[in-house]
Amino acid sequence: MTLPPITPARGQYPAGGLAFPHRGLLGIAGLETHEILFLLDEAEQWVELNRRAAKHSEALAGLTIINAFFENSTRTLLSFEIAGKRLGADVVNMLAAQSSIKKGETLIDTAVTLNAMRADAIVIRHASSGAVALIADQVACPVLNAGDGQHEHPTQALLDALTIRHALRERGKSEEFNGLRVTICGDILHSRVARSNILCLASLGARVRVCAPPALMPEAIEAMGVETFHDFEAALDGADIVMMLRLQNERMQGQFIPSPREYRHLYGLTAQRLRRCAPDALVMHPGPMNRGVEIDSEVADLAGTSLITRQVEMGVAIRMACLDVLTRRSRGVEGWAEAQGNRA
């Protein structure tokens, strides 16, 4: 006889460190549903704090957080920096353009160097899939993946889930993701945001559709529990949430679409297309947006429908929650001592 999996209800988690027994946050792929919910619940207090005039906590006072960004980023870096500072930590940014990476130092040597500086958490973004896990193996402190190649961007998926939850709450709806119809459209092939969101939303019970032209649709993506579409109109039919992705021109080798104009013709989210969705559908975009390509300004700025600025707000709260939870062991928070649950 097989026993049903024990999944704690929302708000009821295993005691102390067992609620989140991972050393770092490398992806959504390794997380249980209740662990995702735990992080979302933890973020609520920071949403509240961030809406106050004095947005400061001393939870991580004295800790050093290094944001090691080997790939350009503005918003994610800023979001992590603000999150760390609001928690009272000392935050240092290391940007690849200024680092010895350009001088030929290997990634492993850089990781060992960061480790020797006794950081308490390292946030990493890198252009190669798997690079963050490679560094995590070399350092003693928790590592947070802020995006690795085309692999994962877990905090983006968590902040998107938190954004959806808040939007549902404000409309007086159930906060359950079960049965929620989410359409993700755009450059799925090159998108780590899409992969993390698919895993996160599917884990929470949403019905996920992905839509892209054939050249931008990864092989066998159905195996990740999604329904695939090439026809944008059909993919939008009755959707509760539409997530638009940017064309990742910097990752494309060769031509994947004939022109931005033609892309908009088939896959641009216009006010007219939005009407195919459920009546009070919500629109999301991880940014930066290419207005007039994948999304029309009219839609991006539609108050009450567009959650795009809300996503940015929730991003800070989620990153605060992740930094707080992942440093609890080293800070000796009660119930989070080293011995209690310590998986990769």
Binding site: T106, S128, S129, A133, G149, H151, E219, A220
Partner: protein
């Protein structure tokens, strides 16, 4: 090193073409002179094989480094060296140097680079390289994209009676891919190419070789679709042969999970159905050669993010055990195992070795086919331990090795 004294190995099981038979083997002045129910003569050095296999030393077709300790550990006495060296093997002097680089106890048979710099644009000096010791021509790890150049190459090689070793991956489809398109590559976010990139390349090369009347060997054929093309071409009588390395019949792309760079190979690991197709092709004779593809790579090439790591595995030490696993699984018999790993590659190279036959070179390996051991990337004879089989228990090991009748080690 010349064999000074005649040698008779008694009490073994001789792995002959087509059968395994109890008996002895005698060699004089580096050549096999007697096989079967023979007795040592006066003055012979006598070695008792103790019931072990007496087999031809393996001929490893298509390696990337001359790594003698690893080859000797693996029972390999000769190897065909790929032209992908730094600098590439596209000049007679380098061919000549490498042809002597392993002697006396290991023979390297260089494969001449088909084009200058292996860039696929201008033919290299193939006849000069042949006369400097090249035993075949190889396109290297890249594909010659220009079909006109490939046809001219095949015609020229046919005239020189040299086999052309082709790398079968359509460069346009592959681009910068490091994995086979499918669920694993999608989940990991790795740049991937469809497995059909191999069949596209194989189809073109077969068509051109048929036109040119050239001998064509695909160093690795790893997919069902491409194997079907090879099978059909053989049936038509085209002079085409195919090889594979153990990775492609032992592992599928599941091995790249967790971005394991030791499993970053060229061509990349395939899906399970293709792995099964490779085993079927070994069983039915479509595949002629099993080789190690030996390419030892240190941490500077492998401890990198998956897509940034160099392809290749150190395979020489595990080749014999991996071939014997096919015998244990009933895919092939013992005689065919050594045809795949010694006889057929020697024939492709046109060297008088690879079989137990009077008159041929006494390149011999004594094998305990059941001896258990564990492959460990940290304890290898190779110059680097990049094996995707790390930690795997295997059976079968070379217990003694002779090159030209002289014991090694």
């Amino acid at each position: 090193m010349k064999q000074q004294r005649p040698l008779t190995i008694t009490g073994g099981r001789l792995v002959l073409p087509g059968e395994v038979r109890a008996g002895a083997l005698r060699c004089v002045e580096g050549r096999i002179v007697g096989l079967g129910a023979i007795d040592p003569e006066d003055g012979d050095e006598i070695v008792d094989a103790g019931g072990k296999l007496i087999a031809p030393g393996l001929v490893d077709f298509g390696v990337f480094a001359v790594d003698k300790p690893a080859f000797h550990f693996g029972g390999i006495t000769r190897a065909a060296l790929m032209p992908d060296q730094a600098p590439p093997l596209d000049h007679p002097a380098r061919v000549q140097f490498l042809a002597y680089s392993g002697k006396p106890d290991f023979w390297v048979h260089p494969l001449a680079g088909a084009t200058r710099g292996l860039e696929g644009r201008e033919l290299a000096e193939l006849a000069l390289m042949r006369d400097a010791g090249a035993r075949g021509i190889a396109t290297g790890r890249g594909w010659i994209a220009d079909s006109g150049i490939m046809l001219r190459l095949l015609r020229y090689a046919a005239m020189l009676d040299m086999v052309v070793v082709s790398h079968a991956e359509d460069a346009g489809l592959v681009g910068s891919a490091v994995a086979t398109a499918g669920e694993m590559a999608t989940r990991l976010g790795l740049p991937s190419a469809p497995a059909q990139a191999e069949a596209v390349a194989v189809a073109r090369d077969i068509a051109l070789a048929e036109m040119a009347g050239a001998r064509l060997h695909f160093r690795q054929v790893t997919t069902q679709a491409a194997l079907d093309l090879v099978r059909a071409a053989k049936r038509r009588g085209v002079a085409v042969t195919a090889g594979v390395t153990p990775a492609h019949y032992m592992l599928s792309d599941l091995a790249v999970a967790k971005f394991h760079t030791y499993a970053r190979l060229s061509p990349p690991l395939r899906q399970e159905a293709d792995r099964q197709a490779v085993i079927a092709a070994i069983a039915d004779g479509t595949i002629d050669v099993i080789a190690s593809g030996h390419d030892p790579r240190g941490p500077e090439d492998k401890r990198l993010p998956f897509a940034d790591a160099e392809p290749g595995m150190a395979g020489a030490e595990s080749l014999l055990a991996m071939v014997l696993s096919l015998v244990r699984d009933g895919v092939i018999d013992m005689a065919r195992a050594f045809a795949l790993a010694a006889g057929n590659p020697a024939q492709l190279l046109g060297v008088p070795a690879g079989r137990l036959e009077t008159g041929l070179e006494a390149d011999l390996v004594l094998v305990d086919p059941d001896k258990p051991w564990v492959i460990s990337s940290t304890r290898m004879a190779a110059s680097a331990g990049n094996t995707p089989f790390d930690g795997q228990p295997v059976q079968g090991r070379a217990t003694a090795l002779y090159k030209g009748g002289v014991a090694i080690g």
